[in-house]
Symmetry: C5
Subunit: 320 residues, 5 copies
Amino acid sequence: MVPEKRYSWLRLLLKYRGTALPRMQGRLAFTTLLAVGVTAVDLNVRFFHPDLTTIPFTLIGLALSIFLGFRNNTSYDRFWEGRKLWGGLVNTTRTVTRQILTLVNEPEARKDEAGRPAESEAIATFRREMVYRVIGYTHALRLHLRDQDRLEELAPFLSATEVEALKGELNRPIAILQSMSFRLRDAWQRGWIHAYHLPVLEQSLSVLTDLQGGCERIKSTPIPLSYTSLIHQLVALYCFALPFGIVKTVGVFTPVVVGIVAYAFYGLDAIGDEIENPFGTDPNDLPLSTISRMIEVNLRQRLDETDLPPLLKPKGGNLH
Amino acid sequence: MVPEKRYSWLRLLLKYRGTALPRMQGRLAFTTLLAVGVTAVDLNVRFFHPDLTTIPFTLIGLALSIFLGFRNNTSYDRFWEGRKLWGGLVNTTRTVTRQILTLVNEPEARKDEAGRPAESEAIATFRREMVYRVIGYTHALRLHLRDQDRLEELAPFLSATEVEALKGELNRPIAILQSMSFRLRDAWQRGWIHAYHLPVLEQSLSVLTDLQGGCERIKSTPIPLSYTSLIHQLVALYCFALPFGIVKTVGVFTPVVVGIVAYAFYGLDAIGDEIENPFGTDPNDLPLSTISRMIEVNLRQRLDETDLPPLLKPKGGNLH
Amino acid sequence: MVPEKRYSWLRLLLKYRGTALPRMQGRLAFTTLLAVGVTAVDLNVRFFHPDLTTIPFTLIGLALSIFLGFRNNTSYDRFWEGRKLWGGLVNTTRTVTRQILTLVNEPEARKDEAGRPAESEAIATFRREMVYRVIGYTHALRLHLRDQDRLEELAPFLSATEVEALKGELNRPIAILQSMSFRLRDAWQRGWIHAYHLPVLEQSLSVLTDLQGGCERIKSTPIPLSYTSLIHQLVALYCFALPFGIVKTVGVFTPVVVGIVAYAFYGLDAIGDEIENPFGTDPNDLPLSTISRMIEVNLRQRLDETDLPPLLKPKGGNLH
Amino acid sequence: MVPEKRYSWLRLLLKYRGTALPRMQGRLAFTTLLAVGVTAVDLNVRFFHPDLTTIPFTLIGLALSIFLGFRNNTSYDRFWEGRKLWGGLVNTTRTVTRQILTLVNEPEARKDEAGRPAESEAIATFRREMVYRVIGYTHALRLHLRDQDRLEELAPFLSATEVEALKGELNRPIAILQSMSFRLRDAWQRGWIHAYHLPVLEQSLSVLTDLQGGCERIKSTPIPLSYTSLIHQLVALYCFALPFGIVKTVGVFTPVVVGIVAYAFYGLDAIGDEIENPFGTDPNDLPLSTISRMIEVNLRQRLDETDLPPLLKPKGGNLH
Amino acid sequence: MVPEKRYSWLRLLLKYRGTALPRMQGRLAFTTLLAVGVTAVDLNVRFFHPDLTTIPFTLIGLALSIFLGFRNNTSYDRFWEGRKLWGGLVNTTRTVTRQILTLVNEPEARKDEAGRPAESEAIATFRREMVYRVIGYTHALRLHLRDQDRLEELAPFLSATEVEALKGELNRPIAILQSMSFRLRDAWQRGWIHAYHLPVLEQSLSVLTDLQGGCERIKSTPIPLSYTSLIHQLVALYCFALPFGIVKTVGVFTPVVVGIVAYAFYGLDAIGDEIENPFGTDPNDLPLSTISRMIEVNLRQRLDETDLPPLLKPKGGNLH
């Protein structure tokens, strides 16, 4: 993602990186050259003139506008839903951390009996391990959504045995949630968590499951191919045919007009393509690495750790 | 569903399978031939010329654009809501599995009394049977939504008696949920589930009921017929009348223009038709078989099973 | 509602019943005749010619398109929200039935003491009566939304006293929920329902209350009159004035063009009117009778009853 | 609100009250007179002719259509959200009444000990007072949203002390909720409400808090001024400039065309203004008085009262 | 935010402050001057005439209208979501205050034993401190969203130690929530909060976490840069090129027409920019200071305090 939009109006006009231009420059150049060719033939040869008139462009323009608008909205909705899901991840990891720190406690009875320090160390360790697992889950989800197989990134947050066990798992984040769930049950059975409070923690795990499922849904289900292909075809057909329709009226400025119109339509089409899957690593995709690092820092600060990794800075103008 | 859209821009332009073209090629050919006929008559006979002018096409174009846009949005919303519901099924089956594995336990008291192994085997069997029922529910819902009567697909996940009992049921998935609910009650009465935790599991069954009801709603309630028929009529009227309106201006290129415009409008209309009911087996419908197989594999992996069926691969370019 | 849309493309083009045509044929005929008159005068008298030109039609066309699109979306949203609410009713009646069957039980203690059959019969009766009340609630809500006063339809599901008591009630479905709530409290006080599980059942009654309130809201609050009247006026003004604007350009084909344009605009307007209140008995309204019968059959099947009424079949092509 | 839209198509065309016309007749008359002036000058003086052509109107028309559509949708969304919130109020007051009547009970233990009538009268009084407070809350919220300071309307539902105490309160409905909350706590401490059931009632109070906050949000936050002023300016500019653009083409009919176009645009703009704040007392605003009276009657009927005030009837065609 | 829109229609037409004009006056002046230049050259030099015709403006106009409409909707959705989140903050702070005041109590047992006043003072202090922390959280969230480092504003609501501890925190509001959570746990362990009621309070903290996360999401994730830059470019390109397209037709009035069109398009674009991030201090941004002051006054009134700060009044016509 390109961070904080603080460009002046003028600088935005001239920006290249992070815009749709790199994606569409090939087809834009081709279309403009085609328009130059058509204009040249029309001005010189004279007797070759398939005049389509502007009628079809006005008529299809409506359908195209519907389609591009629909596509824009849908792609942005996917982008924004993805962002909401990761925002939910930020919230829920904070919530589950707070719950781990406050709802896991030594039972009153045992405290009185054996003096305070009976299990307090074991409980502190348990809390820390659980919060680390939440961090590990976040990183595992990021890797899962980006199809990256870097188990070593999870090593600081899980035990070696667990990391090993994850190797055979089809869905690693879910396996981590399962193991967190087993640990919570054990804590309940040991009396560290009140029976009334276990459902509260269980509920937070369900929310994480739902958030993950939402991300997987966006990733695995593109906009139906029939939409995507029809819109690509109509945009291309429109731009390729345009010079034949306007060369009689516009004359020598045909390539300029075609270039401008093609820039608009190809641009709209290309942006839709780019943000349709927001979990990739395109310039305008969501900065999952930045967010998961921020979660890591925030949660470790809750454990009163001070040896924290730095927040990620934009590389080459982009957050990843 | 056509999986992972990784076609280059150029290949998408030329794609046939999975696009709207197969659905509309008949009416597209007819309309273009009609335009050829009108053009031929106009150029040769000369004295037969009902000139509708382009006025009505511009005026109706607006209404048509509203309608097609509305239709597109509504159909896609239905498609995406269907996907969300099945995404919710993925999430909730994972959640209910996690809950079954952690909230069903031997009560502390009995353990102490008779040593650990008293009921632990019965509980392990119970857990496995319950998770299998969740898988069976998923497959039953898929068959239910596709009006398929293949009870044999449920046999591996339910007891023979249960499969037999499902034969007379109008709504088989609901019957499976009911029987799961009875088993949970029995487990609670035996002390395997804490009274405070039973509502948590019951809540998950309610979520499954809601997800199923959502799917049934989309399946049983099409977009009102008056919408569908009006849009079909207007699109057809528009395309059939178009040659009479533009032949005076566009002349010999009339069939080309009519073909392009009809391609756009018939295409938009046909796509809406195709994804309106997303639970069918059209190329752009939701891959329920693939999803339910994935759920099966994921849940059985949670039971530490290793003898798992393979995930489904696309057949002829499509997932089912 | 017109059931399962399985008409071929061609049959849909020629359909009359269930489309918007019956609603608008009067004004459509009037408008076309007006156009015939204007054309006749213009062609013969010649010196009477108020030429409005097509300018106002293009300019207002935009505003009209906004308005019709807005109206279409809003009406459909109301229709679909109504459908969702009744879908929620299907789900919640299933859920509450499952909860009644599994959460209402004889307390462990008493079983041991007096042998099993102490209260089991009373509990079975209680469960059945409660499920019957759920069915009765569904039918009462249907009658309530359709302003039908057929108390006799509720007689099979409630006691005679209760039916009598409903006579004076302003809001009968709410009164039924209240009496269900009292019975649940009694069951809790007798120990048939665990104190922790009573909120679960109470929550389901709250969901039913919310669903009913949603239906009442749609029914009692039409789209603001200022919207409806402005759109009616603009559509009529547009169609009445159209012949004066195009007769100079289109000539003898004016009535054809006016007819087509009026068909589109009146059609869009009429459909919005029809589905704005989805709880009526118009052809495109929601089939409340069919849904509530289906609920009845489903719930009674859960009670293992076999003497079930048939599901409703379409009458004259429509479900009611 | 204008109740139940049951006007025939023809009567709707001619309606004045409750439509947007009264709001915009001034500016509509002014604009039409301006057009008459411009036409007269153009036809007679001849040499004064600033011909803007129709180009700017077509080009701005697009931006204007976006803006009016956006405004329409946003205003209606605010109207409908307001209606949903008051619908939620209807539902939640019913739910909380049902909960008060069933979850507030004399504890089993005390009944046995001292015979039944020990506290049953006190509890009946408590229930009635609580339901009256719910009614009082509804009326207080209505007065709060309409900035009306009629404390006397709350007198029948609260004690004199409470009414007195409300005088100094900035937010009276919230103060009523707070006092209900204290009473529920007292009931719990006396054993009238089970500790497990107190959160259920508390949850209903939270829902009321959320509903009230939603209403306050709509009331206190208009659509940003920059939107409202830009759309007003563009609509006015458009209509004032229109005669200069079309008088050359349309000639003597210019005032007719300008009148029609201005009617459409001013109308759309005025409706947006009217329903933007739905809690006022304009003809198309929400009938808060009617709804709160209905809530009062419904809840008192639940207390088996028979001396009920009548439901409100439309005054001069409107509900308030 | 500009408060309560009560301007007459005429005054709104002439308003400058709070409208989009200040933001765009530079580019508007430049574009109009360019049009003056083009017109002057065209009228005098005559032989320099690149006539683009109006075709490209009509064709791109469609794409532009899609884009501006999309941008408008998205920006307003962000604005309104931000408002909803702060509305949720108002609601939840009220709810959590009510819960603190009613669910934190001295346990029955201890009261009887040692007479009433045993811990009642400590509990009153605890309640007040907790409510103050809720107020402190609100102010901290405001400062956090506006990147303001004024810790001194929190001093009246937190202890000096706590304020000191906040200095090193990356996310101060979350740290405050964490400390509230610890205090609630302590209160539960002391018996001041019932074990069943702790999850109710914990749930309210989770809602606050979610609301804060939602605000952070809006703040940190702008609309993708590729959208923003494409729309800026197309609007500018359109307005700069417009005089070349219309000067042949419109002649000497070209600057007027260009000025009007540019006013519309720049205006729409500028408003989108302004409210995209609603947590700033622009005239149309959300009045976070006003809302958090109102929360402070409301909550302190619930503690029966009378020495309250005044509600904020608009400064220079704006609320902040």
